[in-house]
Subunit: 898 residues, 2 copies
């Protein structure tokens, strides 16, 4: 069998979002035959290999620190490949390319050849195939696309079309985002399977046979452009009870020596038939899927396969006696093929799968906020990676090897990819693993700094030393503190790189040009409490009064005795077992030194919460910089801190949150669109992930909050919007981590102090997107500052832009990075939804030649959607159309630089 | 490479004890080269697979009940073979043929072929090779020889000369018996390795570099007939600390990606060098052995081999930088070869390695008695197997398939072989596993009953139904209880099978012909207490007065709190943390109905201990039938019960115990022959295993106690001999079992009641062996009773013997069993030691043709010892000489029966 099996005729295409050389085409040659009219049970051997969780990604790969958890991915892949080679009937799927890539590069050519053959024959199938299985609640779409690109590119380069995953496979993330489904659809996946959803939702879907459905994942993209078949796995991602044959399980093996006391073939066959029949009652077709594996399983694959071989043999043998069950080794693609053949119509779903509760009082909504410092660092690192990528392209080959030495963007790219894992930026890992993710990002940035310095040297013509003050978040930068005069370089991530001199202000996070602070926004404060009491948009005359901002501490009331009995708090979970106390303003309002560019007001709420409210002259948003911590625990109670905005907006129980920083979903308190909710947690059960923004509105006003990281939030009362900022918890929540969320470090021995920024925009609803779309994008991709001592060298270029002309405001250059030696990867996106902006929610035509003045484009590869998608009809070879929320991807072939 | 590698020129021979077609000849072709003058570290990958312990042998094989312990031998062999095939450098040894056999028969021919090649090339080497790794303290030599035969025969039949184990390997048994070493020497092993010895002994040997030695294991056999090189492994049977790379271990793997945070090659190499150098200090040569494995390891052999491959590569690479360490994959044979090449003289040892203490207060002497009912049942089963074997031969082919259906001796043979395991008859297994051993024996006996019935039908000419009353130990037999007249058949195990009619007496264990009870022995009792007070041998006029027999309960004083802190009681262990209380006679002496054949006296010691003392008319021994249990535990204290005989013998701290039922060793209180003992446990530290007899003596008298099972015993006071009978203990002893020794069952819900029999012989020392040798042998091989309702059918043969003439009293037919279709296995032994009997301790010549009147012998194969052994010089082809304690083995080719 050859690659031909995996080709779709001779079409070569790119998917809209990813670079995939071939379109998905499902060929049945590698699937075992099924039996019509019997119940066909598709056994899918798989392992779920967290890219870090209780152990670091390195420890998981090698099997280090097995005292924490027995898991070694190198051995899993060794073992599975060996077992697949032994018996051509067997199948396996592999998911996490971060691990597979590492294993692959250690294999001798003979083994690589054998594995290629397994892939070509469909015996080893990649599913999902990104660098990791990303989190869906706390990730930003741009980082998710990057990590998927990294993994899928490796598979494509290594295995060609047969290595292409056809199925998205998010079996473990704790709830599912609509934007993820939209991305998967646009990446060309044929289907999507996951394991976790709200327990009430599942019960309902079992009853209505709707565990398999069609997800229409975008309100903006024309169907079926973002449609994705979605299957909910029957048992999370575990095997049915009693059929786990991994070394980590205790289930009885098949003991088939008839002379034996323990002979159990009849019992196993009977139990299996019962499990299969019971499962079949919950699905529509004569096919069911069983996930035969779990976390880090198959380290000794022989145990699984030996027993699965026997199971298949003994169960199918009974067909001669009238059994109607047919068992086979299968893969999600083979299963999916059978579902397609069934030719049914699936229920349509247009909302998402948040929040996730595993029972009445266990809502996994705490992790939306857990580890807020890590979540911020991941977001900052994303901006740095984009800057690094762009400057690597613009600076040319000397960016990687130049006056500042050898640098690379791969290290940060891989660190960012690993950080998207559903136990990474989610905050659901052990503390030492969280530290490891941060260390990787810091290390990646060190490599990127060299690229940036080299590139700026090439672009500016000056090799003067550059300092990157990485601790500006705590206002620390030795150079600027010691020096009176610095050269300040902004390498803007949307390819506007400006270099200029000016005074640098200490103790300020941002530096602005002089515009009157009163031009856009007015905020007033209650002289008695120092709290905000009104907010006005001076342009639109939007006015909120009363408008109150409170910090509230939730005291987690965990009786001493309860710490033994699950379920309890709260690395993942958040629930209503709390006493809610507003933190009192403890000091009179303090007005910081005012300048024409900036007005600042400081508020103090007790000894461990403070806030600075800022009005910038050039900004239409009100900035609220909060500082929380160390959260006191001397009383033995864990605490969660929220900030709440109470306004006069008549929101009627409705609020809006974004999905992975992109399209926005409507939320309604105590309500789910697809089933009749029985609300058991009035607060925790109404929390949703906020990746970049949330808002409430009425006919007149919309109050939008733009965040600087992923957080959890809700609107519990009409006119109110709350965001959880920080959490410190003293009990483990029995979801596997085995640690409380009690962050302390060398710098913060008394407990972590976290600082962050919310941007508030008050507008009429019709104008809101015009404000929050660019505001959020600028917040995600903030300027990178570097400093050079002394004045600029004579003759050096002080300002430049990589673009020949500005892009339309609706169009964002999502990705610009080096692809091959003579090729670039470029992604353009339309960043507005349909209907949200009169001015911007329309198609735009972009000329690809305009945007790369520092590169010479020779050709670009055509973009084509899947056969089922609608043709895009671009006006010309160089002009491409972007409709609302569309992302388009190109490989540009470029001439070597002069 | 072919079998030639394993042949010793063209000599074909039988070892004295076992049937092994070829003599041991060590050929170095399969050993990796070593480096002269460097420290050569022999890495021996191995697994230790208990043939039952925490799980049953079936559960271990399949990997069932992994909730108890993760272990599955089928997977170990799958995995190891796969790994050996991947890299020809790798080596593995396998030990337990009970498991290997089972795995082998499930393999397809292609796999069998591959494994044969591994064995031929010395990459897979069998060591020890018996059915199991037998216990040394509680086993009887005849059963040990049988189990070794079963395992080694399989290896020989399957693999030929290359499958022959050259090394005995008892890495786990809890102390080492001299008789085992003697048997191993006679079986032709080149050396013996073990792991456990007294901690003081080890310390001393490390100091004197005597962990490798020459064991002269018999006082009777002429050296070097029973000489055996013996090596004590450095670390039990575990790898050095920090180098366990099994899935069950947590040691860091070798992480050799230099880009990695966790890179540890330098650290591993440095730690390994330190471990090797430290170990080398305790041994004499430039070679050391490291056992790389442990209990049920290598289920996922890749983990081990992948890291060992790296270890060897990285350590040896350092030789270029001056390192003096050379690491290699090796086997015990290859290591032994290097020791032989060193051409050193080893210290001679003539005693044994009992008792075993792992520290000052942890003497493993409790298990000598643990599970006394199982120990008895194993002993009874041994007799039944010998009977079954002999009748299978004598009855001809219809024994296996005859009027009573199909029967076999294999089932019981395998059950007995399994029962020899060091966690079987030793009593050191979990309760459910002990039950499983008993079940296997019972099942084996069911198969043998058919053989016996068929054989007796063929021999007697009557197919009348036969009943075997298996519960006569509790005086229960429905047939004899319900019927007035039965036909009683004794199938005597020393090939004297008599059939006769008589009255059968209820409630009697033995039936005797009428001889005056006063002919040989007189016992007197104190009328006040009912206790024995004198014993007289009327023939020799040996007279003991005072002579006292007491039952003593040891109350184990385990404070409640101590149960958490190891080390404590007592499945394996026995120590002196007890209160010793004699059990008071609670009832006046009761004289049971007296007959000319038998006089009986009943003694009661409180509610749960009683004893019947019997004098049989035809016996020179006094029988003491004790009944103990249920041991009360309402006081929360575990108890051990001993019976103690206090006499006027001036024993001077010296006593004697047998080794595995054969040669006897001298014991001295608070003394060890090879080092200066610091005694820490005055009682437990003086206990030794008693397999068949113990005695004390002075110039005038010898008091010998013959036991009916293996037990622990000692002489703590001069003139005293004590035997521990039963134990019931409420705490686990932290030696892995995780259960207290608290035997209860359906029949004995309040606690196990055990009954047993001691036979006392009082003689002058010079005549003692003449009495106790046959007495012990008769006790081991008791008659089997079967019953037939009504009178014998007319014309049926009522009495026969398989022998044409009686053997000399010194010669015992140890084995007579079917070997092949036309061949028999026969073993003759001289059952006396040198010098212990004037009459019997001399060579005897036996004519092989005499002993088999029911078979027609055509030829027999020559017997030859190893080259280093002395030629035996038999007088003629059919006449063989037996010297004291010699065992000789023959295969007789027989003509088909008429």
């Amino acid at each position: 069998m050859s690659h031909d099996r995996c080709l779709y005729s001779n079409m070569v295409a790119l998917s809209p979002v990813l670079v995939l050389t071939y379109l998905s085409y499902f060929h049945s040659a590698s699937c075992h035959a099924t039996v019509p009219n019997m119940l066909n049970v598709h056994l899918v051997p798989h392992t779920h290999d967290d890219v870090g969780w209780l152990k670091t990604v390195d420890q998981y790969f090698y099997g280090g620190r097995n005292d924490i958890q027995h898991a070694g991915v190198q051995y899993i892949l060794d073992s599975v490949v060996g077992q697949l080679l032994q018996n051509p009937e067997r199948r396996f799927i592999y998911v996490e390319t971060a691990f597979f890539y590492r294993w692959w590069k250690n294999q001798p050519p003979s083994m690589q050849k054998a594995v290629r053959q397994l892939v070509d024959q469909g015996r080893l199938e990649f599913v999902n195939g990104g660098w990791c299985m990303s989190d869906e609640a706390t990730t930003h779409y741009s980082a998710v696309i990057d990590q998927m690109t990294l993994g899928l590119r490796f598979l494509n380069d290594t295995f060609g079309p047969c290595g292409r995953p056809r199925v998205a496979w998010h079996i473990d993330p704790f709830g599912h985002a609509r934007e993820h489904a939209s991305m998967f659809a646009q990446m060309g996946y044929d289907g999507f399977f996951f394991g976790r959803l709200d327990y009430q939702d599942r019960t309902n879907r079992i009853r209505t046979l709707e565990q398999e459905l069609l997800w229409r994942a975008s309100e903006s993209l024309e169907p079926p452009y973002a449609d994705l078949f979605t299957g909910i796995l029957p048992n999370g991602y575990n095997p049915p009870k009693g059929f786990c044959w991994d070394q980590s399980c205790d289930d009885a093996p098949i003991m088939d020596d008839p002379d034996l006391e323990d002979y159990n073939v009849d019992d196993v066959v009977q139990r299996f038939a019962a499990a299969a029949n019971s499962q079949a009652m919950a699905y529509k077709t004569k096919h069911i899927i069983m996930t035969m594996g779990s976390d880090f399983q198959y380290e000794n694959a022989n145990l699984w396969y030996k027993n699965l071989d026997k199971l298949i043999r003994y169960v199918n043998t009974r067909q001669a006696n009238g059994s109607q069950i047919n068992v086979l080794y299968s893969t999600p693609s083979c299963y999916l093929q059978e579902l397609h053949r069934a030719n049914l119509t699936w229920t349509l779903k247009t909302d998402d799968f948040f929040p996730y509760a595993d029972d009445a009082h266990n809502f996994w909504t705490g992790y939306f906020t857990s580890r807020p410092a890590l979540k911020r660092y991941e977001r900052v690192s994303n901006g740095r990676l984009q800057t690094c990528n762009q400057l690597e392209v613009l600076g040319g080959p000397s960016s990687r090897k130049g006056p500042f030495g050898a640098g690379d963007s791969e290290t940060l790219r891989e660190a960012m990819a690993v950080a998207q894992h559903h136990d990474a930026v989610s905050g659901t890992e052990k503390q030492h693993v969280a530290n490891d993710y941060a260390r990787r990002l810091a290390n990646g940035w060190q490599h990127c700094q060299v690229v940036v310095s080299n590139s700026l040297a090439a672009l500016s013509g000056s090799s003067a030393g550059r300092i990157y003050c990485d601790n500006l978040n705590v206002s620390a930068c030795p150079l600027t503190e010691a020096s009176k005069k610095v050269t300040d370089i902004h390498a803007h991530s949307s390819v506007k790189t400006k270099i200029w001199i000016e005074e640098y202000f200490f103790n300020r996070v941002c530096v602005c040009v002089c515009v009157c602070v009163c031009q856009f926004v007015r905020a007033t404060f209650d002289p008695a409490t120092g709290l905000l009491d009104s907010l006005t948009n001076l342009e639109t005359h939007s006015f909120l009064f009363p408008f109150l901002n409170l910090f509230i501490s939730l005291y987690l009331l965990i009786p001493e005795t309860l710490h033994l009995s699950p379920p309890l708090s709260f690395l993942h979970l958040f629930h209503d077992l709390f006493l809610s106390l507003p933190l009192p303003p403890s000091a009179p309002l303090s007005l910081l030194p005012q300048t024409p560019e900036l007005q600042e007001v400081r508020q103090q709420f007790g000894p461990w919460v403070s806030q600075v409210i800022r009005l910038h002259s050039n900004s239409k948003a009100l900035e609220m910089e909060w500082t929380v911590g160390p959260v006191p625990i001397a009383d033995g109670l864990g605490k969660e801190v929220i900030t709440r905005l109470d306004s006069s907006i008549a929101s009627s129980g409705v609020f809006y949150t974004d999905s992975n920083g992109r399209e926005v979903l409507r939320r309604k308190k105590d309500f789910r669109p697809t089933w009749d909710l029985r609300q058991t947690e009035p607060v925790a059960g109404n929390y949703y992930p906020i990746n970049s923004r949330a808002y409430i509105k009425d006919d007149k006003d919309q109050l939008t909050v733009v965040t600087d990281r992923s957080q959890g939030g809700s609107s519990i009362h009409d006119g109110s919007l709350e965001i959880m900022l920080h959490r410190r918890l003293l009990h483990d929540d029995w979801r596997g981590v085995g640690e409380p969320l009690n962050e302390m470090s060398g710098v913060f021995p008394l407990g972590l102090v976290v600082r962050g920024r919310l941007l508030l925009s008050l507008t009429p609803p019709a104008l809101a997107a015009d404000a929050h779309r660019p505001l959020a994008q600028e917040n995600v991709l903030q300027p990178l500052l570097s400093f050079t001592e002394g004045g600029p060298p004579p003759g050096s270029l002080l300002e430049f832009s990589g673009l020949q002309a500005a892009l339309p405001p609706a169009v964002h250059l999502l990705t610009l990075s080096q692809w091959g030696q003579d090729s670039l990867l470029i992604r353009l996106e339309h960043q507005f939804q349909t209907k949200e902006s009169k001015e911007h929610s329309v198609p735009f035509t972009v000329n690809l030649q305009v945007y790369t003045q520092y590169t010479h484009i020779c050709t670009w590869e055509p973009l084509a959607a899947k056969p089922l998608r609608k043709p895009l009809g671009d006006p010309s070879m160089w002009e491409v159309i972007l409709t609302p929320m569309q992302i388009r991807t190109f490989i540009l072939r470029v001439a070597p630089r002069r």
